[in-house]
Symmetry: C2
Subunit: 223 residues, 2 copies
DNA sequence: CCTACCGATCGGTAGG
DNA sequence: CCTACCGATCGGTAGG
């Protein structure tokens, strides 16, 4: 099955436009920028340098193309949190590791494409509930479950209070992300928080989280 | 300037359709149900039993009608939180009063119309940033500022720890609302939390909040 | 003459 | 692969 020209990723001789993951990428760019209703299949075909016929051959409808874009998105972000969560899991300094994680969550979740994809899915959640369901399960709920698992491990090592690790993960997530995500979502990035404000919010989030979830053991007692 | 028939609210002899606040109400219903793009001026005019020309005379474009609906909405919800915040302000039992407020926030913010309006504004935030800005300032930020003011009062009475009352209000808001609001927004109300789950989340939110913001005074020390 | 309102239809553009 | 084109429907405005 060896092909003659391994340098060229294109399968056929035609110069051709985009397909597969590249096609989904340009479709995603337009969807995030314009929204679902304002995105036309003509615009996507033109940006991918393919005909609408070719576009409809790989994606039978606008809705199916949207679903493919979201599925591709959640698969790409599937394991993005893994290394950072593993670092938290093996830490000896919980407070600093939580601060690090808060900063990583800010950088990741508050980035324009992530916020825009979230807004896009919210906007179409009523019309396409199964797409929104896949998004919420495979991105948010999955990462929250992974974080809960790490918290359970830390509790087992005596570095966090034992209790409902799922509740702890939920509270940490929204203490860190709630206010800035809400603000950015509702202002289209116009009045973003400054880096100093975000850092202060991360410190306050960790402080409140640890006030509740710090182990009662006297050796690790804080003032 | 006394008119002959004060019983009839209509100004002219024609039977006529809706206008003013009633017109905005039916427009809001359709916008919340269908979304902005799928809402047609024809449908609004038909639901209000007026011609499109009459509709366009009071609202010069679809966008201006949308802005009027949002303005009307934030004005109606302006002081909805007042009595509940005043009850918290004058309480002697902070923990129970916070639990009560959490339940009220759940009932108010997680109700379908409030969630739908929020989703609608988010969906159009990029296209109509000034409408989203008015919404976020006059509903969310305003209520958060009112809550911060109450927290500052409670701190002055020694019932909460002194500190940044704004941070406390932000953390309380998102501890209480973050997880369920996210879930309901992204599932279009399909997989709502049960009353028991919401009550448990409220208790955990208050517990975490008080772990950080409870005064250090020994008389009010908790176990 | 004016205001309020209607039936009909305009130019453009959507998904397919 | 592309151009042309469909049935439908949109926001906004004409004449009367």
């Amino acid at each position: 099955m060896a092909s003659e020209r391994t340098v060229q990723p294109r399968r056929r001789g035609r110069p051709g436009g985009l397909e597969g993951a590249d096609l989904l990428s340009v479709a995603r760019d337009i969807l995030l920028r314009e929204g679902y209703a304002a995105t036309t299949m003509d615009a996507i075909a033109a940006a991918a340098r393919i005909s609408k016929q070719t576009l409809y051959r790989s994606h039978a409808s606008k809705q199916e193309l949207f679903a493919a874009v979201v599925t591709d998105w959640v698969e790409r972000g599937q394991n993005a949190m893994r290394p950072h969560l593993d670092r938290l899991r093996s830490t000896e300094e919980v407070e600093q590791a939580l601060l690090d994680l808060a900063g990583i969550l800010h950088a990741a979740v508050l980035s324009p494409p992530v916020v825009q994809m979230r807004s896009l899915v919210i906007a179409e959640a009523e019309r396409f509930p199964e797409i929104a369901a896949e998004y919420v399960q495979r991105s948010w709920e999955r990462n929250e479950a992974l974080l809960a698992d790490v918290f359970a491990d830390l509790a087992g090592r005596g570095l966090l209070a034992t209790g409902d690790a799922g509740t702890a993960a939920q509270q940490f997530t929204w203490l860190v992300l709630g206010a800035p995500l809400d603000r950015i979502t509702l202002t289209a990035g116009a009045s973003r928080f400054s880096e100093e404000q975000l850092a202060a919010m991360a410190r306050d989030a960790v402080a409140t989280f640890l006030a509740r979830w710090q182990p009662a053991s006297p050796v690790r007692r804080r003032v």
